[in-house]
């Protein structure tokens, strides 16, 4: 892959460039927003902090020159998933102020699972990309063309598998909603 622009000699941790500093700062902001999102007692605020966290992730993608992924992130997560969450909250229960039942007894289990998956992911990513440096001055490496070519040449099989999975989910959703309708009629 073109991303693997080998370990360039002048790169190091002690003389960070502007982009690297921005990356770290945005990362901290994203992490903070994510933490507030899971700890706040106000349901709708949690959803809105989620917007900040997901938007921060999109900025991180941009800084890593993965333009296409960044905009897809905004389109799918900020534009659709969060709107769906807010829609659900408004339809059911979204009081202004604190929600007394916003706390879960599974808090410690959740923390354990989150910490475990975070450690695993960080470890895997650090191990895999330890010496990889992205050349920022050259041509954009995460452009639509490169992404498309990589996706449909090297990763066609996972892509197709995922599309089958999505299709199954779609069919499942339709079946579930129809079943409910029939029961309503019978009762």
């Amino acid at each position: 892959m073109s991303l693997a622009a080998a370990a360039a000699a002048p790169s190091g941790f002690l003389s960070p460039t502007g982009v690297e500093i921005a990356f770290v700062l945005v990362g901290i902001a994203t992490l903070g927003a994510a933490l507030i999102s899971v700890t706040t007692k106000q349901l709708v605020h949690a959803a809105l902090w989620l917007v900040v966290a997901l938007g921060g992730l999109a900025v991180e993608y941009l800084l890593l020159t993965a333009e296409f992924i960044a905009w897809v992130q905004v389109l799918i997560y900020v534009g659709s998933v969060v709107v769906l969450i807010l829609f659900g909250l408004m339809l059911t229960r979204a009081p202004i102020g604190r929600s007394p039942d916003a706390d879960s007894d599974n808090r410690w289990v959740a923390v354990t699972v989150a910490a475990a998956s975070a450690i695993t992911l960080v470890w895997v990513v650090v191990d895999a990309f330890r010496t990889t440096w992205i050349e920022l001055d050259g041509s954009v490496q995460g452009s639509t063309k490169v992404t498309g070519q990589t996706l449909f040449q090297h990763w066609v099989l996972p892509f197709e598998a995922l599309s089958v999975l999505l299709l199954a989910a779609l069919v499942g959703a339709i079946v579930l909603s129809r079943k409910n309708q029939d029961q309503d009629k019978e009762s």
Binding site: V78, G79, L84, M90
Partner: protein, 320 residues
């Protein structure tokens, strides 16, 4: 240094367009509606056709007291107008006006950028609807969300059809690749895109979320003064963006006679004609009911958009 100056100038130009064009559309709407409905409206301020009434309205909005309801969630209530308005400013940066780099910033995945950021604007309406602590506002917010989720899909599919035809996601690239026969070839996609865009902007006949006879003014009921004006401005900025995008994607942008020298005039002209159509539709059609809205999106627009994608694919394979 030159680069920085270039970028700064472009951004200033985009900002000027963002501050003036929506007002022009707003003024045009007042006048066109007045003439179509055979009523005059304010005709004295400033002399010619009462043009200065717009300025007077602006002064009025700025003077009004900015009220936040006692029960409202203050911070979100105050933040909502900015969230509704700013995405349109960002989108304007990516819309090409003329050939040879006459664009705020050419973005590689421009089409995705534009659609993604436009979708964020709706969050402003949702925040306003929830934070107002008002049943009517909440209903308006709910309807906004339902409408967005229904119409986002056909809009994306129609845009994807153009991207397939052009073989690129870059907006200047799409206009560069444009041929005159694209317009008849993509006409179904164009209609779907335009209608879905109107619905996303909550323009009549898709203004169920702000239906004044049922829920006062939907999510914006509790707003006064400048914050209310910002929501109105967001609607008109949305019209500019939608018409500009439809022009760029389906009507060939700057293509026309003498495109090299006066290409930007063609883009503006096509955009203006589309904006006129938007206003025309407002005074022509009655409001669609909520179930009719959803039915139109899921049973008419999405199948049409899918058919358009199939047609685009077939023609693309045949001619290549």
């Amino acid at each position: 240094m030159n680069d920085i100056l270039d970028v700064a100038l472009r951004l200033v130009a985009v900002l000027v367009v963002f501050l003036t064009f929506p007002l022009l559309v707003g003024q045009a709407e007042h006048k066109v509606m007045a003439h179509m409905q055979g009523r005059l409206g304010p005709m004295y301020a400033g002399g010619f056709h009462g043009w200065a009434q717009l300025v007077a309205d602006g002064v009025k909005f700025a003077q009004k007291e900015d009220i936040v309801p006692a029960e409202a969630d203050r911070r979100i209530f105050q933040l909502a107008p900015a969230v509704a308005l700013l995405p349109y400013l960002l989108v304007l940066i990516a819309i090409p006006v003329g050939p040879n780099g006459f664009v705020g910033q050419a973005i590689d995945a421009g089409l995705f950028f534009v659609l993604a950021v436009m979708g964020v604007g709706v969050l402003g309406s949702l925040m306003a609807g929830w934070a107002s602590a008002n049943k009517f506002s909440l209903l308006g917010g709910l309807r906004t969300a339902a409408q967005l989720m229904a119409y986002e899909l056909p809009m994306l599919l129609a845009a994807a059809s153009v991207a397939m035809a052009a073989g690129t996601l870059s907006l200047p690239g799409i206009v560069d690749a444009y041929q005159w026969w694209w317009t008849p070839w993509q006409i179904v996609g164009a209609l779907v895109f335009f209608i879905a865009g109107l619905a996303e902007l909550q323009r009549p006949p898709f203004d169920m979320p702000v239906a004044d006879s049922e829920i006062i003014f939907g999510a914006y009921t509790e707003y006064t003064g400048l914050r209310f004006a910002l929501f109105l401005l967001a609607e008109y900025a949305g019209i500019v963006v939608l018409c500009g995008l439809t022009t760029v994607l389906f009507l060939g942008g700057w293509h026309g006679p003498w495109a090299d020298s006066v290409g930007w005039v063609w883009t503006l002209l096509k955009t203006a004609v589309l904006a006129f159509v938007v206003i025309w539709l407002r005074v022509t059609y009655p409001r669609l009911r909520e179930d009719q809205l959803q039915k139109l999106a899921w049973t008419v627009l999405i199948p049409l958009a899918l058919a358009q994608i199939a047609l685009t694919g077939v023609v693309k394979v045949v001619i290549s």
